[in-house]
């Protein structure tokens, strides 16, 4: 994002953050919320930016109830700090975003980034059970709660998850967490799509399955030891240390395009990328990450194919000039008018991340 000497605010509490946001909105100053900065390149170049509003001092674990398998945290805590807390009870939050480490929870939710574990566990959308958001009018609004099942009122978690801070600044969140699997094994192979199909149809579905443009595969099976043993024995692939996943999650190309299509379309779409394109993918999910080494036109061409398949190609990072040329989001969805009305209802002065998101 283009930043011309903005003020830096690092509030220590949610209330203070809401106050700073409100003051900025009153003065019509543009505000960019900042977490760990791991997804700072996502979205269009900001139209203006007067205040960088950091959440990093909001880094407390508010409550971790082991027995209830529920955790509430402030938004500025890093994923690693949260995992360390959960590990004390042999629990974890099943999200493993790329460009790790250093993501904050608020940033993860705002960007909607996920990783390989999504195949088994879904995305945070599926286990975010409560949210607290600071709004430009200075209010702090909570949705959901701290119980694992809740249909009381509208699902405000869905409204803010993936909204890239365009409606409000996430200040706290509650999650349903998961027990560490009884067994967890990682395998690798070089069999490309054929091996991918085989791994996806094992009787015990894989927890994660990543395919690389050179035909390499990383597969993870977890659950009851007997089931994991049977499936990994049947596959007969090379055993790997679980640390390969940490290495994998550090990936962060400088020019980075994320392709999301119906899973059955993914192979056709990545096959149509320019020759020698370098990518990695979660075939069971329908997501591929492309390390762009070609020009802007090639990205626009790829995007046309992706959109025709009912998907989206989103730039997660790129130098400003390239980002301007390609555009972060592609064709706006047909429902964009409704999204604009939601934006106006929550941020009428357009002070939050102006120009960066779809609305």
């Amino acid at each position: 994002m283009v930043v011309t000497n903005p003020a830096v605010e690092k509030p220590a509490t949610a209330e203070e953050l809401a106050l700073r946001l409100h003051e900025a909105a009153e003065s019509k100053l543009a505000v960019a919320p900042v977490g760990g900065g791991r997804a700072a390149g996502m979205g269009n170049v900001l139209e203006r930016c007067d205040v960088l509003l950091h959440t990093t001092r909001l880094d407390r674990v508010i409550e971790h109830s082991h027995a209830d398998m529920v955790v509430s945290v402030e938004a500025g805590i890093t994923l690693e700090a949260l995992q360390a807390e959960l590990a004390k009870a042999n629990q974890f939050l099943p999200v493993d975003p790329f460009n790790s480490p250093g993501h904050t929870i608020g940033g993860l939710l705002a960007t909607g980034w996920t990783g390989p574990l999504r195949l088994r566990y879904g995305s945070p959308r599926d286990f975010l059970i409560g949210i607290r958001v600071a709004l430009p009018d200075g209010k702090l609004a909570t949705g959901g709660g701290r119980v694992v099942k809740n249909v009381s009122g509208y699902d405000m978690m869905k409204l803010h998850n993936g909204a890239l801070g365009s409606l409000g600044v996430i200040v706290a969140a509650s999650f349903k967490v998961f027990p560490r699997p009884l067994d967890d094994q990682t395998l690798s192979d070089h069999g490309g799509w054929a091996a991918t199909d085989r791994a996806l149809s094992t009787p015990l579905a894989p927890t994660a399955l990543e395919l690389f443009s050179d035909g390499r595969i990383l597969a993870r099976y977890s659950g009851s030891p007997a089931a994991v043993k049977r499936v990994t024995d049947e596959l007969g692939w090379k055993r790997e240390d679980a640390a390969v996943w940490d290495e994998h999650s550090r990936r962060a190309p400088e020019r980075w395009a994320r392709i999301a299509v119906p899973p059955s379309e993914l192979r056709r779409i990545v096959d149509a990328l320019p020759d020698d394109a370098e990518w990695w993918a979660s075939p069971g999910v329908g997501v591929a990450h492309w390390t762009v080494t070609t020009d802007a036109k090639s990205v626009r061409d790829a995007r046309a194919g992706v959109e025709a398949a009912g998907g989206a190609l989103v730039m997660l990072a790129a130098p400003d000039g390239f980002m301007r040329e390609v555009g972060a989001w592609g064709t706006a969805p047909p429902t964009v008018e409704i999204m604009r009305r939601l934006k106006s209802a929550f941020d009428p002065g357009r002070v939050l991340n102006p120009g960066r998101f779809v609305v």
């Binding site: 209830d68 996920t114 599926d126 702090l140 609004a141 869905k158 706290a172 009851s224 059955s264």
Partner: protein, 480 residues
């Protein structure tokens, strides 16, 4: 109240003469859903297509007439009750499964498709639809999506919102839109996620694309008796604390077990203080291993008379008892008032003992049958509606139970919805600012308030028993 002059004719021109019901005797069967409060619609429109739904809503919008989308009417929170009159927009004629894609493991259905029917049809491809409300023999996928329904197997598989990929919806101006779809990570705000569970107050749902899952090759179902609800709750925590999340983990108390056993003869132990029904699924190696571990844990936590279903028929009978439990309670009293609060799982023993005391205080029998793994309790207050005096007591007891749930850090509803039944209690869990944020969403989708008015948000025009002095947040915002 009647429809403005000429509106019934307009509606008949859209859906056909026989598809509009407005004779008062015929309307009576649409007065209620599965909850205890009713109100008559002015007309019922039987829609057969998206075009019907859109045109009807356009007429309603022009005349400012309330519209309440309605599926099978099995809802338990008054979501389908036309509390302000107007049009009940019945979608049960839209009951086609439009497509099952066995490769992508998805189904595209109309809103009136019955939940269980979808799983039965999908089974031909070795697939099933996971959310399984106890009313699944009758309830519709459209109603499930509107209420974000749950069910016993949601402990492992998640609730409706986790299984809806996209929807075709009609908004309050009669416009038709697709929200989300087959691809993940779509561009823009997650409108689909906001609309699922919006209880008919933001849109009418006309098509739903859902995920289907592979039917697990092996299922094991275990019944275990416990001396008390406390010991059974302890066993639930122990199983999950061990790192096992079963597919389902259900509890029934002594009152419920008595009624179920008298009705189904499924072999439930009637001397037990509480009974747990535990199910795991997966590949045979996994279910065998998990069941052995669970058996050990339950036994170590005072479980006795453990019995694993040996055949599919035995398993079905155990589930028939659980899913039919509420009907079986009719042996005790003709009516029930069923609540749906959720507490953090570790608070189950405390909240159940509070529920018992409240029942005793009002001299009302209470039967508990619920999703223990999720902390989602379902106390049924049993009564006879013909006794007019008792209604007051029933409502007061229900309100006190919910208050106890909320004071233990819980919430008003886990899977039934807020509707008409609990909207007055929303200020117990949400501040004015929280509700204001939700109101903004309502205003964006339905500024004139024609879609299912009087639901979800507190309704200042209605008075309910005992509310005086208990309108504030039940728990300080200490969690944040």
């Amino acid at each position: 109240m009647a429809l403005p002059a000429g509106v019934a004719e307009e509606l008949r021109r859209i859906v056909g003469r026989e598809a509009v019901i407005d004779a008062s005797n015929d309307l009576r069967i649409f007065e209620r859903d599965g909850s205890i409060e009713g109100a008559m619609p002015d007309a019922v429109v039987l829609a057969s297509s998206t075009e019907h739904v859109a045109s009807v809503i356009k007429v309603a919008a022009r005349h400012h007439i309330p519209v309440v989308p309605r599926g099978a009417g099995t809802g338990l929170s008054g979501g389908a009750v036309t509390i302000r009159g107007g049009i009940a927009l019945q979608v049960t004629r839209m009951r086609h499964i439009l497509e099952i894609d066995p490769v992508a493991q998805t189904a595209l259905v109309e809103p009136g498709v019955v939940n269980q029917e979808l799983s039965l049809v999908a089974a031909q491809n070795g697939l099933f639809y996971a959310p399984d409300p106890s009313s699944q023999k009758a309830c519709t996928i459209g109603g499930n999506a509107a209420e974000n329904s749950g069910g016993p197997h949601c402990l492992y598989y998640g609730v409706t919102t986790n299984h809806v990929l996209g929807m075709e919806v009609v908004l309050a101006d009669g416009s038709v839109h697709w929200v989300s779809g087959d691809a993940p990570d779509r561009v823009g705000l997650d409108l689909c996620g906001v609309l699922v569970g919006s209880e008919g107050t933001l849109c009418a749902i006309t098509k739903i694309k859902v995920k289907l899952l592979r039917i697990p090759p092996s299922v094991a179902t275990l019944l275990a008796a416990f001396p008390t609800i406390e010991t059974a709750s302890q066993a639930v925590s122990a199983v999950i604390g061990h790192g096992i999340v079963p597919a389902a983990l259900e509890m029934m108390d002594r009152v419920t077990v008595g009624a179920v056993e008298a009705h189904y003869r499924a072999g439930y132990p009637t001397d037990a203080g509480a009974v747990l029904l535990v199910e795991v699924d997966g590949i045979p190696e996994s279910t065998r291993e998990l069941m052995a571990t669970i058996t050990e844990i339950l036994t170590a936590n005072h479980g006795y008379a453990l019995r694993e279903a040996q055949t599919a028929a035995e398993r079905d009978l155990l589930w028939a008892g659980r899913k039919g439990a509420i009907g079986a309670l009719g042996r005790i009293k003709p009516n029930y008032y069923l609540h749906d609060g959720v507490v953090p799982r570790s608070r189950l023993p405390q909240v159940l003992s509070a529920v018992g005391e409240i029942g005793d205080h009002y001299k009302l029998p209470v039967a508990n049958v619920f999703h223990a793994g999720d902390g989602n309790l379902h106390p049924n207050i049993l009564f006879d509606m013909r006794d007019r005096q008792v209604m007051h007591q029933v409502e007061a007891a229900g309100e006190e139970m919910l208050r106890a749930v909320v004071e233990m850090g819980g919430t008003l509803s886990g899977e039934h919805g807020i509707g008409l039944e609990k909207n007055q209690f929303m200020p117990w869990i949400y501040s004015e600012d929280d509700l204001d944020a939700m109101h903004r969403v309502k205003d964006v989708f339905d500024a004139d308030g024609i879609l299912n008015p009087g639901k979800v948000f507190p309704d200042p025009s209605r008075n309910m028993v005992q509310l005086a002095g208990r309108t504030g947040l039940a728990v300080e915002a200490k969690w944040w």
